[in-house]
């Protein structure tokens, strides 16, 4: 009976073994990265009902974040401003702008503008803006260079591992409270020593146990 398989067929078990191992490693690496919030969520930039430009308002005009997001220091939730806040200026400026038509309509009818949520935390993760901005976490640290965003997009993964990076080593990220809303803040050379000193003085201890956020 002739040989049914050529000699090099002996390679098949080895190849398939290495192939499955390599394939497994590849699959893990593939899922690890491509299914991660870093790949899926970062860069999410949905179209908004009003083409509001943070680049113009926060960047060029230099408005402080808290002019609109006024609750950020006292509430867990940083508010999206009511139409009223837009109309503070836009009842005077650009009153005929087409882009602002939905704002004027909302102001006239009382119907709210439905903004699309960009930064999404899961419902089982409880986060407080007030706790962060009062303890030296800048807007920029989590939201990126908003002052350069024509359309707001998600700059950081907002994943748990990403949160813990800072919670475990806050001295690498904190800034003085009067620089919270500064965009493009440059830390001084000795900032780690400064932060360590502040952390000790103010007793800043970011919790890293589960029940700090999950309940």
């Amino acid at each position: 009976m002739p040989q049914l398989f050529p000699k090099k067929a002996n390679m098949v078990p080895h190849l398939s073994l290495f192939g499955s191992l390599g394939g497994g490693v590849f699959l893990i690496a593939f899922v690890w990265y491509f299914f991660s919030p870093e790949y899926i969520d970062v860069g999410y930039a949905p179209e908004q009902p009003v083409p509001y430009s943070h680049e113009l308002h926060a960047g060029q005009l230099g408005m402080d974040c808290r002019y609109c997001h006024s609750n950020v220091e006292v509430s867990a939730y940083s508010n999206i401003p009511p139409t009223q806040t837009c109309m503070n200026c836009h009842s005077q400026i650009k009153t005929a702008s087409l882009a602002l038509a939905p704002v004027r309509e909302s102001w006239a009818t009382g119907e709210p503008i439905e903004w699309v949520k960009v930064h999404h935390l899961a419902d089982y993760a409880h986060f407080s803006h007030a706790s962060h901005v009062n303890n030296g976490v800048g807007c920029e640290t989590c939201h990126g260079r908003i002052d350069q965003m024509e359309v707001v997009w998600q700059a950081e993964p907002l994943s748990m591992g990403w949160c813990l990076e800072c919670h475990r080593q806050p001295e690498l990220w904190l800034r003085p409270n009067d620089e919270i809303t500064t965009m493009g803040y440059v830390q001084p050379a000795n900032y780690i020593e400064r932060n360590i000193e502040r952390i000790a003085r103010e007793g800043i201890q970011p919790p890293s146990n589960c029940s700090a956020c999950h309940y």
């Binding site: 899926i40 969520d41 999410y44 949905p46 609750n71 006292v74 509430s75 867990a76 939730y77 508010n79 999206i80 401003p81 009511p82 139409t83 009223q84 806040t85 909302s106 102001w107 009818t109 009382g110 119907e111 709210p112 503008i113 439905e114 903004w115 699309v116 949520k117 999404h120 899961a122 419902d123 089982y124 993760a125 409880h126 407080s128 007030a130 706790s131 009062n134 303890n135 007793g203 201890q205 970011p206 919790p207 890293s208 146990n209 589960c210 029940s211 700090a212 999950h214 309940y215």
Partner: protein
């Protein structure tokens, strides 16, 4: 394998039990059926696949749904943020606001403090500053929020069943009013204390001169007030000062009942009189003679089982003993308890108190007051307020007159305001159809609504401007927290005003109009705002007339005949659905009854002996209770109702709960099976089959003649029907620890002889481990001593709880509070009967008999609230394969829902059986309005996730964040758990064990403190304080050797 020392049989038997603790008749018998159902962690049914489908089918379903879920999860859901257009003043998104308001509860105003999230009220608490509430809200107040979000609430004005609008009704009224002076009108209204309603009512009576108005109460007359009318000639309001009482005798008087209008402060006062902190403290003594085993009976030091019909004779015998007059020839003349109690009451003198019950005739109430007066107690333990009530005509007479007029055709208009009389008087339906104009203002399209011309939806009290007077008379105003969910919903004030004046004024204007006369004219606006802010106007109680009252002679020795033999029926308000007004409230339907622990049903409750005499049974079969049926017939009306056997119930007496068997129309579609029957969710969707309260239980009200709460004339026969499954939680979560007490009860004299008896009674570890020295506990002997824990900010606070069983009266308020705070879901009768109930806090009710022999005639009773004990050595933590349940550095045991994969190992390993598993996605199909009641600070759990008490971790975190923002440390009392907040008896203490001055540490140091199952060394954070009894030594001599 680690060898753990186990107790040998000899050692076990050597532990001589002092008393036998048991939870049900099945437990007492302890047969194979019972053993089978309690020995495993889950009930036999609970661990099976969800309703109806086999395990294989379940797996197929899961596979299919996984595939579908995988596909649907590829898309990121788009969420929108909807800010205000115009920002309301003072509203901060994410920061809940609190508003004072109040509700009308059985004619008495209950002051409340509401939490509202951007205009969405979610949680009800008592008004902290109000003199009657002081921060406590009973279970009906707390549950009432779900009445507003009830998806089956009446939403539209109906004219002959057709949908019309409020404007149509206004037009109709204006035409109708043209002939107002000639109209013969009868108005049946819910009792109310509102000054504004009184004012518009006056206008109405002026506009309609041939009208009569009466308050309609489904439960019948307020016997206590009728009794006062008899005793003093005027219907004075009784204000018991329980805190001053040393000896209390209750004649069928369930004064601790959660349905009573003065529940919070009676409970608070009674708890004060029972509070014992050390051996030197004294405690009041309570004697109870009653038929049903009530919460008051459970607190009794001496309880006599006696038919309610025999109470008048019993009262006469007690009076004779107290007065030292000759025996009257009643069967109770020589009753040992009467003799001893009389002596005790005389010795207590001004600090004595005799209370009569709702089912008793006015004569008994009058005699009780006469005795109080003779003992000198009037002024100390009982005071009287003049609530301005007009002399009362019994409701039965007024209804008789109404029926006479209706039959004669003498009435052309009947108006029913926030009442549902057809539920109690079914023959009224046909009579109403013959009347020219019938108007019904109600919460649902219910029994009454279907037989009237005009049905109007009523606005919930959280949607309307109202006012009222609390039990003590304090004038209070209540503001709405939300615009009416349904445009046409109007308050009673607005509807009566429209009828009276033809003007469609708003409730706001009407209420302010009334208050203009109350508040100083020059500062009206500022005073009005103050009243709204506080919720009440201080120093406006009803006049105290205690010193002015004088007993009328007929009250001193009223005629109290001896009742004939026979089986009596006693009717009472339900502790779940009240008079039926809470019947469509999922929380209340699923609330286990205080005593029987039955959910989603009402039953005919009787003693074991009566059940034998009637030939009926109720047995445990495969973990579920099945009961026989009884047919009760009275004057040609009959009902058929399942039976329930309650140890300690009086013989020859049957107790029936009102308010069940409702028929409520629903406009929502009935849910059907989807996916060719593979989707079984419709089986567990309690909102999916029309109104959830429809057809639950049996309406017993029509059986009553003349609203009598007591009758001996009924014919009672066993009905030949298939046995009926009753869902009760009394055998759920049984900690099968025979002979080792979990609930500890001792007498005062035993306690004085051995102050540490609680610790001596619980078993100890074979190798002693001294772990109860708080607060150093965590520091030295914590299971995790690594730096990661100690280096955590939460480490500084170590949370703990103490529950004082001595003042826990099992009123259920904590359970509803927990449910509202923690988004605990309702699952329906079928699921509860399988042991899948979700309540994080269960209130175990134990019967206690003195001997170890089988004896169930008159057991004692006590309550043991059990939720997660937050063990230091938590057995659940070590078995979780994914560390979803873990130990927080603050010493609490927490669940991380997003980690949980639903192995249920933790529940298997929990010695206290307090973990709850989401066998289904209970929230998936909640109606939109019901979703609105969810607390946004607590995760809404999904299918396949374990959950349990978290010590209200969201409140802890919130207080910590607040303290951090204010740059201060946490203070004792910053954090109040939901159950603690609800507890009117102040039985629950929660706080930081690291703070040596905190109340919880003081309680932990108390000598009555003990832990559940200390012998297994799990080191629970929740401790209990042993229950004490204060028996009369003449009746129960103290044991000679301690």
């Amino acid at each position: 394998m680690i060898e753990l020392p186990v107790l040998s049989d000899a050692e076990l038997n050597a532990e001589k039990p002092r008393a036998r603790f048991w939870r049900s008749m099945s437990h007492l018998k302890n047969d194979a059926e019972y053993q089978a159902s309690v020995n495993s962690e889950f009930m036999p049914e609970a661990a099976q696949a969800p309703s109806g489908s086999s395990r294989r089918q379940f797996l197929q379903l899961m596979g299919a749904s996984m595939a579908l879920a995988g596909l649907s999860a590829c898309r990121r859901p788009v969420e929108v943020i909807v800010p205000y257009s115009r920002q309301p003043e003072e509203v901060l998104e994410g920061v809940p606001m609190k508003y004072a308001t109040g509700m009308n509860f059985r004619g008495v105003y209950k002051p409340l403090l509401l939490e509202s999230h951007q205009g969405r009220p979610t949680r009800i608490g008592g008004n902290v500053e109000h003199p009657t509430s002081r921060g406590n809200a009973g279970l009906f107040e707390q549950g009432s929020i779900l009445n507003m979000y009830d998806p089956d609430r009446s939403q539209l004005v109906l004219n002959d069943g057709a949908q019309v609008t409020w404007a149509d009704f206004v037009r109709f009224v204006n035409e109708y009013r043209v002939t107002a002076s000639r109209r013969n009108v009868a108005v049946l209204a819910a009792p109310s204390s509102s000054p504004t309603l009184a004012a518009v009512k006056q206008n109405f009576l002026t506009a309609f001169p041939n009208s009569r108005w009466f308050d309609y109460r489904a439960e019948g007359d307020d016997m206590r007030t009728l009794g006062m009318q008899m005793a003093f000639g005027a219907p004075y309001r009784v204000d018991y000062k329980m805190g001053n009482a040393e000896v209390i005798f209750s004649l069928d008087g369930n004064f601790l009942s959660e349905t009573s209008t003065d529940h919070e402060f009676i409970t608070r006062g009674y708890a004060d009189s029972r509070r014992v902190m050390d051996v030197g403290d004294t405690m009041s003594r309570l004697y109870v003679a009653e038929s049903y085993y009530t919460t008051t009976g459970s607190m009794a030091d001496h309880r006599v089982r006696v038919r309610s019909s025999d109470i008048p004779a019993f009262a006469a015998a007690l009076a004779a003993q107290i007065r030292g007059t000759a025996a009257l020839g009643t069967p109770f003349d020589d009753h040992p308890v009467i003799a001893a109690a009389a002596e005790d009451l005389i010795a207590a003198g001004p600090n004595a108190l005799i209370v009569a019950g709702d089912a008793q005739p006015p004569e008994v109430h009058a005699l009780a007051m006469a005795l109080n007066s003779e003992l000198g107690a009037i002024g100390t333990t009982v005071r009287f307020l003049d609530a301005g009530t007009e002399p009362i005509t019994p409701q039965a007479e007024k209804i008789d007159e109404l029926f006479r007029d209706l039959r004669a055709g003498a009435l052309d208009t009947v108006i029913m305001l926030d009442v549902n009389p057809v539920l109690d008087l079914p023959e009224l339906a046909d009579l109403l159809r013959r009347v020219d104009t019938t108007i019904h203002l109600g919460t649902h399209v219910d029994e009454t609504a279907s037989s009237v011309r005009w049905h109007l939806p009523i606005a919930h009290y959280l949607e309307a401007w109202e006012d009222g007077r609390s039990y003590d008379g304090t004038l209070s105003a209540s503001q709405p927290l939300i615009a009416p969910l349904y445009e046409d919903a109007k308050s009673m004030i607005e509807v009566v005003n429209l009828l009276a004046t033809g003007l469609d004024n708003t409730g706001y204007d009407l209420v302010r109009q009334t208050w203009r006369d109350v508040l100083p004219a020059d500062k009206f606006e500022s005073s009005w705002r103050r009243v709204l802010h506080d919720g009440f106007l201080p120093n406006t109680p009803y006049p105290d007339v205690t010193d002015a009252v004088s007993l009328r002679p007929e009250a001193i020795s009223p005629e109290l005949p001896v009742a004939p033999e026979g089986v009596e029926l006693v009717f009472r308000l339900s502790g779940q659905v009240l008079d039926g007004s809470y019947a469509n409230n999922a929380w209340m339907q699923e609330l286990p009854d205080v005593i029987t622990k039955i959910v989603w049903d009402n039953v005919a409750t009787m003693s074991p002996k009566t059940a034998v005499a009637l030939g009926v049974e109720s047995n445990l079969e495969k973990g579920q209770h099945f009961s026989d049926w009884l047919t009760l017939t009275l004057d040609g009306t009959s009902i058929t109702i399942p039976v329930w056997i309650l140890p300690g119930h009086a013989d020859n007496s049957i107790t029936l709960d009102l308010g069940f068997g409702r028929q409520i129309a629903s406009s929502r579609a009935v849910r059907k099976a989807k996916w060719f029957g593979f989707d079984t969710d419709h089986k567990i969707d309690i909102y999916g089959q029309g109104a959830l309260g429809s057809g639950v239980g049996v309406n017993v009200s029509p059986l009553r003649a003349n609203f009598d709460n007591l009758t001996l004339d009924a014919t009672i026969v066993k009905a030949e029907r298939e046995r009926y499954m009753i869902a009760t939680t009394q055998d759920h979560g049984v900690l099968n620890m025979e002979k080792r007490p979990l609930a500890i009860m001792a007498t005062m004299s035993e306690y004085q002889a051995n102050p540490n008896l609680a610790k001596d009674m619980v078993p100890t570890l074979p190798k002693a481990e001294d772990w109860d020295e708080y607060p150093t506990l965590w520091e030295d002997r914590a299971p995790a001593t690594d730096l990661a824990y100690k280096d955590n900010p939460y480490y500084q606070n170590q949370w703990g709880m103490v529950i004082d069983l001595n003042t826990c009266m099992g009123c259920n308020a904590c359970i509803v509070a927990c449910q509202a705070e923690n988004n605990v879901q309702v699952i329906g009768k079928d699921q509860v009967s399988r042991g899948r109930e979700m309540h994080w806090l269960r209130l175990d009710r134990y019967f206690i008999s003195d001997s170890y022999e089988i004896e169930s005639d008159n057991p004692k009773m006590m309550f043991l609230p059990v939720s997660c004990q937050h063990c230091e050595n938590a057995p659940c933590e070590s078995v979780c394969p994914v560390a979803a349940t873990y130990h927080s550095p603050d010493g609490t045991n927490q669940m991380v829902y997003n980690r949980c994969i639903g192995t249920r190992y933790c529940a298997n390993n929990c010695p206290y059986k307090v973990r709850r598993f989401n066998f289904y996605n209970w929230t998936k199909d909640l109606p939109l309005t019901v979703q609105m009641v969810q607390n946004p600070n607590v995760t809404v759990r999904s299918r396949g996730v374990m959950e349990k008490c978290t010590y209200c971790i969201q409140r802890i975190r919130k207080a910590q964040q607040q303290a951090s923002l204010e740059k201060r440390n946490l203070r004792d009392g910053d954090i109040v758990s939901a159950c603690q907040q609800a507890c009117a008896a102040d039985s629950i203490y929660f706080g930081d064990l690291n703070d040596p001055n905190s109340r919880v540490v003081k309680m932990k140091e108390n000598n009555r403190r003990y832990e559940l199952l200390p012998q297994i060394n799990v080191k629970p954070r929740t401790s209990y304080m042993a229950r004490l009894r204060n028996p009369n030594e003449k009746l129960e001599p103290a044991p000679t050797s301690a």
